[in-house]
C-alpha cells in the first residue's frame, strides 16, 4: 500500500513539475515574464559571446570576461541550448529549462542519500516546481534560476560538491574514495574557475568544519582530507585560467571594510520590499538555520553514520550562511540577494534532510500550499501579451530601421543598450559599449570591436552616471550636425557622412594612469605625452596630463607666465584644436 502511494506521489509530483515547466515556457513565449530579467546585458553575456564567436567569427582571446567566467555549468548548458536551436529567444528558454532540470536532478540525488529515492524525486519535483512558480511571481531572487551569470551555476556546483562530499565520506573502498576524490578535484577546479563565490559558499566552510572535526574525532579527519582536495582545485583553476582564459573584468570594489550592520539593514529592507509570497518563502531561510542549530544541539553525541552526515549538512548550512553574510557584510559592494542563493534555494532541501518523516510531511504540505498560492497569484494577469518568440525588443527594432535607412552598421551605446542591440539586431548591427565620455567600456565584450570607425550613437535619456553618454562630447568630435531620432526613451544620433573612432584607453583606467603619471616630475614630459594623446584624438587623456603638468608647475614654484602658457595649451585642447601640437 505504501509503495503504491509512493509511486502515485512520484507520478503526480513529476507530472506537476513537467506541467509547470510547460507553463513557464508558455509564459516566456507570451512575454508574461519580466523581459528585463532575461534581456538585460548581464544575462545576455552568453548569447553575445556565442554570437560573436560562432556567427561573427571573432576570437575568444579578445574578450574581456566578467569577473567570474561562469563556465561551469552555465557555458556548458548554454552550448547545449545553442546547438539545439538557432533562435536566440529559444536558446534562452532552453537554457532556463536545462538549468531547472539539472537543479531538479541534483536535488533528487542529494536527497536520495538521506531518504527513499522515490520520496527524494517527489520532493525534488515539488521544490523545483515551487521555485519556478516563485520565479514567475518575482524575479528576485527565484527568477535567477532561469538565467545565466547570476551565480545560479555556483549553486549547482555547491550541490554537486555536497553530494561528492557525502559520497566521499561514505565510500568504503580505497578505489571508490579515489574516484570520488578525482571527481572532486575536477569539479572544484572548474567551479572556482567559473565563479570564486564557491570559495566562500563551500570551500571555506568545509575547511573550517574539517579543522574543527579533526580535533574532535579520528574518523572526521576525512572531512579535512576532502577540504584539501577542494584546495587543490584552487591553484589548478588559477593556472588553467591564466593559460586558457582571456582578460577578466575586475570588480569596482572588493572585500573591504563595509559595515555588517548596514548590510543587515539592507538585507532586512530588501526582504520587507519583496512581494508577500516571496516574504513567506524566505522565512524558510531562518527556519532552516534554526533547525540546523537545533539538530546539532540534539544530536551532538549520536555516533550513527547517518546522523554524522546530517550533522555535517547542518554545520555546512550554518557556517556557509554565516561566512556569506560576513563576507557580503564586509564587502564594499551593495547587498544583492544573488550572493545568498544557496540559503534561499536550498532551505527546503536542508529541512527535508534534517527533519524526521512526520515533520517532512508538514513541510510537503507547506510547499504544496506555497505552490498553490503561487499558481493563484497568477503573474500573467497584469502583464501585456507580447510575442517574444517571433518578435524582439521594440527599441532594437527602431534602431535597426534607422540604421538600415542610413546604411550604417557600427555604432556606440551605453552598456545596457549595446549588448541587447548586438544580440537581437536583425540588421547585423555592431554596437559597442562605451561610458559617459565615449571611451570604451572594457567589460563583457570583445575588445577587438572597439577599433575602427563608428557611424551612430544611441543615448539613453534615462541613464545616469557612467551610463549617460555625453552628447556634447560626441558632437565635439563631429564637424557636421548629426541626424537626430527618438526611439522610445533613447536618442539616436546618426552621423552625417562622417565617423568617429574610440580612444584606446577607457576613462575607467584614468585613476590608474594618474597614479603612474604622478611619478612624472617634468612638465615638458607631461606636455609631450599630452601632445601624443591629443594627436590620437584622445582629448580627455590630454586634458588630464596637462592638468597634472600645471599642478606640478604650481607646486614647484614655476613662473606665472610658464603656468599661463600651459593653461592656454589646455584651453586649446579642450576645444579640440590641435594647432598647439608641434
Amino acid at each position: 500500500m505504501k509503495t503504491k502511494l509512493s509511486s502515485l506521489f512520484i507520478s503526480i509530483s513529476c507530472s506537476f513539475y513537467v506541467l509547470i515547466l510547460c507553463w513557464f515556457a508558455y509564459a516566456y513565449q507570451n512575454g508574461a515574464i519580466d523581459p528585463g530579467l532575461f534581456f538585460n546585458s548581464d544575462a545576455l553575456f552568453f548569447p553575445s559571446l556565442f554570437k560573436n564567436i560562432f556567427l561573427e567569427g571573432k576570437h575568444f582571446a579578445d574578450w574581456v570576461l566578467p569577473p567570474s567566467a561562469y563556465l561551469f555549468p552555465d557555458a556548458i548548458l548554454y552550448a547545449i541550448a545553442y546547438v539545439l536551436n538557432k533562435n536566440v529567444f529559444s536558446q534562452i528558454l532552453i537554457f532556463a529549462i536545462l538549468q531547472s532540470v539539472l537543479f531538479f536532478y541534483l536535488i533528487s540525488v542529494l536527497l536520495s542519500i538521506f531518504i527513499r529515492r522515490s520520496d527524494a524525486i517527489s520532493f525534488s519535483a515539488l521544490i523545483s516546481s515551487n521555485i519556478i512558480l516563485l520565479g514567475l511571481y518575482s524575479a528576485d531572487p527565484y527568477g535567477f534560476s532561469f538565467i545565466d551569470v547570476f551565480h545560479f551555476g555556483s549553486l549547482l556546483s555547491f550541490i554537486i560538491l555536497t553530494v561528492l562530499l557525502l559520497k566521499y565520506l561514505s565510500a568504503t573502498s580505497t578505489e571508490g574514495k579515489y574516484y570520488v576524490g578525482v571527481m572532486t578535484v575536477f569539479v572544484a577546479t572548474f567551479s572556482v574557475l567559473s565563479d570564486r563565490i564557491i570559495l566562500v559558499q563551500f570551500v571555506a566552510p568545509i575547511l573550517l568544519i574539517g579543522i574543527y572535526f579533526s580535533f574532535t574525532g579520528t574518523k572526521s579527519k576525512e572531512i579535512l582530507k576532502f577540504g584539501m582536495l577542494l584546495i587543490v582545485g584552487y591553484p589548478l583553476a588559477i593556472i588553467i585560467g591564466r593559460i586558457f582564459l582571456p582578460e577578466m573584468g575586475s570588480l569596482d570594489s572588493g572585500i573591504g571594510f563595509g559595515s555588517i550592520s548596514n548590510k543587515l539593514t539592507m538585507l532586512a529592507t530588501w526582504a520587507i520590499n519583496r512581494p508577500w509570497l516571496i516574504q513567506i518563502s524566505t522565512t524558510l531561510v531562518p527556519i532552516s538555520i534554526f533547525v540546523a542549530l537545533l539538530y546539532l544541539h540534539q544530536n551532538r553525541k549520536d555516533i550513527d553514520q547517518r546522523a554524522a552526515q546530517k550533522r555535517l549538512v547542518a554545520l555546512l548550512i550554518v557556517v556557509s550562511a554565516v561566512l556569506m553574510l560576513l563576507v557580503t557584510g564586509l564587502s564594499d559592494r551593495d547587498f544583492t540577494s544573488r550572493y545568498l542563493l544557496p540559503c534561499f534555494f536550498l532551505a527546503p532541501v536542508f529541512l527535508f534532510v534534517l527533519l524526521n518523516d512526520k515533520k517532512s510531511k508538514v513541510l510537503v504540505f507547506v510547499l504544496c500550499c506555497s505552490t498553490c498560492l503561487a499558481v493563484l497569484a497568477n503573474p500573467e494577469k497584469e502583464k501585456t501579451q507580447v510575442q517574444f518568440y517571433t518578435s524582439y525588443p521594440e527599441f532594437v527594432r527602431c534602431v535597426d530601421a534607422l540604421a538600415h535607412k542610413h546604411g550604417v552598421s557600427r555604432g556606440i551605446a551605453q552598456y545596457w543598450d549595446a549588448i541587447p542591440l548586438h544580440v537581437f539586431s536583425n540588421a547585423g548591427l555592431n554596437v559597442v559599449p562605451v561610458i559617459d565620455d565615449g571611451s570604451p567600456m572594457r567589460f563583457e565584450y570583445n575588445t577587438s570591436e572597439f577599433s575602427g570607425e563608428f557611424s551612430f550613437v544611441v543615448i539613453d535619456n534615462n541613464a545616469a552616471g557612467i551610463y549617460k553618454i555625453s552628447r556634447t562630447a560626441i558632437e565635439g568630435r563631429l564637424s557636421k550636425k548629426p541626424f537626430e531620432y527618438q526611439c522610445y526613451d533613447k536618442t539616436v544620433l546618426i552621423f552625417n557622412k562622417e565617423t568617429i573612432t574610440l580612444p584606446r584607453q577607457s576613462a575607467l583606467s584614468d585613476l590608474r594612469n594618474s597614479a603612474l603619471e604622478s611619478f612624472v616630475k617634468n612638465p615638458r614630459a607631461l606636455l609631450i605625452m599630452a601632445q601624443e594623446e591629443s594627436g590620437k584624438n584622445n582629448h580627455e587623456s590630454a586634458a588630464r596630463l596637462l592638468t597634472e603638468a600645471i599642478i606640478l608647475l604650481m607646486q614647484s614654484g614655476a613662473k606665472d607666465e610658464t603656468v599661463r602658457y600651459y593653461e592656454s595649451v589646455k584651453e586649446k585642447n579642450s576645444v579640440g584644436k590641435n594647432d598647439w601640437i608641434y
Binding site: F519, R524, A525, K559, T562
Partner: protein, 119 residues
C-alpha cells in the same frame, strides 16, 4: 643487490621533481626575449621616452646625454632631452637667462631632426 634498489627509486623521483620544478619555473618566469622586444617597442614611442626620461631630475645630465645623441646623429632623441631639460628649469622657476642656452640647443636639435627627416 636489493639494498641498492632505492637508488633507482630515488633517481626516478628526482627526475619527476626536476621536471615539475622546471615546468613550474617555465610557467612562472616571463619570456625575457619578449620583454626585451616589448621594451624596445615601448621606447620607440616619443611619449614613453618622455615618461622614462622624466625620472632624470638634473637638466645638466639630460643636456650631456642630448649632446651625445647629437654626436650619434640621433637628433630627435637629443631634442627630446633638451626639451625635458628646459621643462625642469621651467618647473623650478629658473630665470630666462638660465633657460636661454638650453632652449637654443633644443631648437637647434629640433631643426636638425626635421632636416634629417626631410632628407
Amino acid at each position: 643487490m636489493k639494498e641498492y634498489f632505492w637508488i633507482g627509486e630515488f633517481f626516478v623521483k628526482s627526475i619527476i621533481v626536476a621536471i615539475i620544478f622546471f615546468a613550474v619555473v617555465t610557467m612562472l618566469l616571463p619570456n625575457i626575449k619578449n620583454i626585451r622586444e616589448e621594451w624596445k617597442g615601448f621606447l620607440s614611442e616619443r611619449e614613453n621616452q618622455a615618461l622614462v626620461l622624466s625620472f632624470i631630475q638634473n637638466p645638466v645630465a639630460l643636456t650631456i646625454s642630448g649632446e651625445r645623441d647629437l654626436v650619434r646623429k640621433k637628433y630627435a632623441d637629443a631634442a627630446l632631452k633638451f626639451e625635458l631639460a628646459v621643462g625642469l628649469l621651467e618647473m623650478h622657476g629658473a630665470s630666462p637667462t638660465t633657460i636661454q642656452p638650453y632652449q637654443v640647443r633644443f631648437l637647434d636639435a629640433k631643426r636638425m631632426a626635421e632636416q634629417s627627416e626631410t632628407k
